[in-house]
Amino acid sequence: MTVVPAQQSGGGGGSSGLYDVLELVLDRGLVIDAFVRVSLVGIEILKIDVRVVVASVDTYLRFAEACNRLDLEAGPRKDPGLPDLVGEMTESGARGKSKGALSGAAETISDAFKQARDDGSERQGESRPRARKSTSSRRKEEQE
C-alpha cells in the first residue's frame, strides 16, 4: 500500500507523480481567453480510453479463466494477512504496467515531435503516424 505523507515537499512532483497529475495539468486549471494555448496535438495518445472493463471476447475469456482458477473455498477475503499481500502485489504489478504504457506514450510523443521537426514542418494540424491508436475517444479540446 502506498502511504502518502501528510506533507510532501513543495518542490516534489517527481516523474512518477507526474503521470498521475498529468491529466490535471492538461485538463484542469485556469484558462484565459486572451491567451493562446500551446497545441496539444499528440497528447491524445496519453488519453487512451481504457475502460476498466472492456466488453470484449478477450475480457470474457480472461475472466472465465480467472474464475476457474479462483479458490472458492478460501472465500472472498481469505485470512486477514493474505489479501493485503495479494493486493500489494497486484497493485505494484498494475502500477508498473500503467506506468510503462504511459512512458511508452510519452516516448511516442517525443518521437512524433522529433519527426515533425525533422520534416521541417511547423504545422500542427496535419496527420502524423498514429503509433497507438487504440480505442481512444477523442475529447473536444484536442480538436481546438
Partner: protein, 257 residues
C-alpha cells in the same frame, strides 16, 4: 517575445518561485509580473513549445513550489500570452475575480484520488455474491474448463457484475472521502479508473483527509486507491461563485472570460 504563464497569486504570497527553472530547453527562468494586489508567475515562452514530459514537469514543479508556500491559481498547461503587458492587463481587468478565487482557495490544496479494482479480489466478491456465476464457474471447472461458449457465457456474466461494481465502488469512494473535504470535483473521464476524483482540502485538515483515505483502503480492500497531493487546486480554479449556477454549460472547458 511571448510569455508563458504558470499561475496567478496575490502579491502578498510569501514564496514566489522567482528564478526557478521553467519550461523550455534550456529552461527559462521564472519571473514575476506585478499588477496591483496580484502577480503572475511567468517565464519567456520558448518557440515551438510542445506538451512533452519535461515541459509538463516544469509547469507542475513551478506551481508545486509556488503552491507549497501559499495560494496560487494554476493555469492549464500551455497558456501563452503575446507579451507581459497583455498579462498585466488581464490581471487588472479581472482583479476582483482572481482575488475572490484566491481568497476562496486560500490555505486549501487539491488531493486527487484514483481507484481501481484489485482483480482477483473483485472476482472473489463477484463469485461470492452471485450463485449463478458460482454455478457456471463450477460447471466449467468440472468440465475441464468448459467449452468456448461456456467460457464466454461465464465471462460475460462476470464482466457485467464487475462493471456494476465499478460504478458502485466509484460512488462509494467519492462518498467516503467527500465529508473530509471542502469540495469535490470529478476528474477527467476515460482514463481507466473506476474513480478519479479531486478533493479540495484545507491544509490543516490534510491529516484527517489522509486518514479517511486509509480508512477507505481498510474498508474496501478490493480497491487499489492512489492519492496525489497536496497539489495546487487545478480542479477548483473555476467557476467562481460569482457566476450564477447553470449559466455555463460545461464548466471545465470554458475560459475565465
Amino acid at each position: 517575445m511571448s510569455t508563458y504563464v504558470y499561475g496567478i497569486a496575490a502579491s502578498s504570497h510569501p514564496g514566489l518561485p522567482e528564478g526557478m527553472s521553467g519550461v523550455g530547453d534550456p529552461p527559462r527562468p521564472v519571473r514575476i509580473l506585478r499588477e496591483g494586489d496580484l502577480v503572475a508567475v511567468v517565464s519567456e515562452a520558448p518557440d515551438g513549445l510542445r506538451p512533452k514530459r519535461k515541459e509538463l514537469l516544469a509547469h507542475q514543479n513551478v506551481l508545486s513550489e509556488a503552491g507549497a508556500a501559499g495560494c496560487v491559481l494554476p493555469m492549464r498547461f500551455g497558456s501563452v500570452a503575446p507579451d507581459d503587458n497583455s498579462i498585466t492587463a488581464v490581471l487588472a481587468e479581472r482583479a476582483e475575480h482572481y482575488k475572490e478565487r484566491l481568497q476562496a482557495l486560500d490555505n486549501r490544496v487539491e488531493y486527487n484520488v484514483k481507484a481501481n479494482h484489485v482483480e482477483e479480489a473483485v472476482l472473489h466478491q463477484v463469485m461470492a455474491e452471485s450463485p449463478d456465476i458460482r454455478g457456471l464457474a463450477e460447471a466449467n471447472r468440472q468440465a475441464g474448463g468448459g467449452s468456448y461458449d461456456d467460457k464466454i457465457r461465464l465471462g460475460e456474466l462476470v464482466a457485467a457484475a464487475v462493471k456494476a461494481k465499478e460504478a458502485d465502488d466509484g460512488a462509494a469512494v467519492q462518498r467516503a472521502l467527500a465529508s473530509a473535504a471542502d469540495d469535490v470535483s470529478a476528474g477527467p473521464e476515460s482514463t481507466g479508473w473506476l474513480a478519479n476524483v479531486s478533493f479540495l482540502v484545507d491544509r490543516d485538515s490534510a491529516e484527517s483527509f489522509l486518514a479517511a483515505v486509509e480508512q477507505l483502503r481498510n474498508d474496501m480492500p478490493h480497491l487499489e486507491v492512489r492519492v496525489n497531493g497536496p497539489l495546487p487546486p487545478y480542479s477548483f480554479v473555476e467557476p467562481g461563485p460569482a457566476e450564477p449556477a447553470g449559466t455555463v454549460a460545461s464548466g471545465t472547458d470554458t475560459g475565465a472570460g
